[in-house]
Symmetry: C2
């Protein structure tokens, strides 16, 4: 059975999104800076259906993740945006566009039932009966591969507190956001970490932990 | 002129001390876990007048710091403890013992005037006229060497917000404290970081930044 692996970019002061998120600026003020390391990477461009980008350590980290993950779990806001169109229109399309960069089944945690949504090679399935159900379904879909836990912070915290996360890779961005959404709010010392790998690039530090 | 360099251990959730500090437990609940990486290192033992310990990457990081620093700045609580004896007795000795591990001049930021205190090879000078004065005095004392900014968090934040920190090395400990004193509270995106070096060890990740 594959691991449940949280893979997420965080500012040095602990935020995964900046203050004042909006539809135009879903990651909040400065939030996009957390992901700059990825945008220039060849494997990021490729997973978004483009060519170009640099073949560097950051690109290898992304490629490894793309290959190892057989399914993704995400929260509703990561599916349809911070204060997105979901509330107004539960059938709103995902902001991931017509060719989402997953290419494997995605399970979206939500309180609103909805039929599965097919977009290119990605099927979004909406799970209303909790995090364990989403994990079971994602594991079934992933087979021997890992299940990627994408975020946001609230979903990551729920899985961490429930002791269900096996591995965590934090992309520690050299920025301060000064406010916004904290990744580890409400996560305490009973979640134990073991440092398993560090990959350095000029843009970001990729730190991997076993979680127990 | 040497750099002002902040060198401090932080939990993955951003704390430099845990909840509920006391005289018996000045780093708060779990706070001591942040420093486990150092205690077993040969150069840490040596700087504390002992022998033994391991010659490893962590030890090299400490040795580099010991050699490069010609003076240290710290806050009053780092000098005499969290809720320490200072308030009851302004002449209380430092909790650093008779042979403090500095071996160079230390400047303590405080609101209470006090005569300099000599302990072994370390002289503590008490500075009541603010962070810039402390930095001037420390730079004079350090000559060509760096000035180490030891903490606590409030002192680090004052220097960061004033734009006076040149370099920062965070020892990112693989622990969650879940509460306590946040290192970067009130530090915002106008403090710019440049990732300059990462050193990995099994116990901790040493991440160094240029600060601008």
């Amino acid at each position: 059975m594959g691991k449940l692996s949280l893979d997420i970019s965080m500012s040095l002061d602990g935020f995964v999104a900046g203050p004042d998120p909006s539809l135009d600026d879903p990651l909040g003020r400065g939030g996009d800076d957390l992901h700059q390391w990825a945008y220039g990477a060849a494997s990021w461009q490729e997973s978004h259906g483009r060519s170009g980008g640099q073949a560097n350590a950051d690109s290898d980290v992304i490629a490894e993740r793309v290959e190892s993950a057989g399914a993704t779990i995400m929260g509703r806001r990561m599916f349809s945006g911070g204060e997105g169109p979901w509330e107004e229109d539960p059938n709103a399309d995902a902001w991931w566009g017509e060719e989402p960069p997953f290419g494997h089944p995605v399970f979206v945690l939500t309180h609103h039932e909805r039929e599965p949504l097919e977009k290119g090679a990605t099927t979004f399935t909406f799970v209303t009966d909790g995090i364990e159900s989403a994990l079971d379904q994602a594991r079934d879909a992933a087979g021997d591969k890992d299940v990627a836990l994408g975020g946001g912070a609230d979903v990551a915290q729920q899985y961490l507190r429930a002791g269900l996360v096996d591995e965590m890779q934090i992309h520690l961005a050299p920025v301060f956001l000064g406010g916004g959404v904290r990744l580890f709010e409400g996560v305490g010392p009973d979640v134990r970490l073991e440092l398993t790998r560090v990959i350095e690039s000029p843009a970001v530090t990729h730190v991997r932990y076993g979680v127990g």
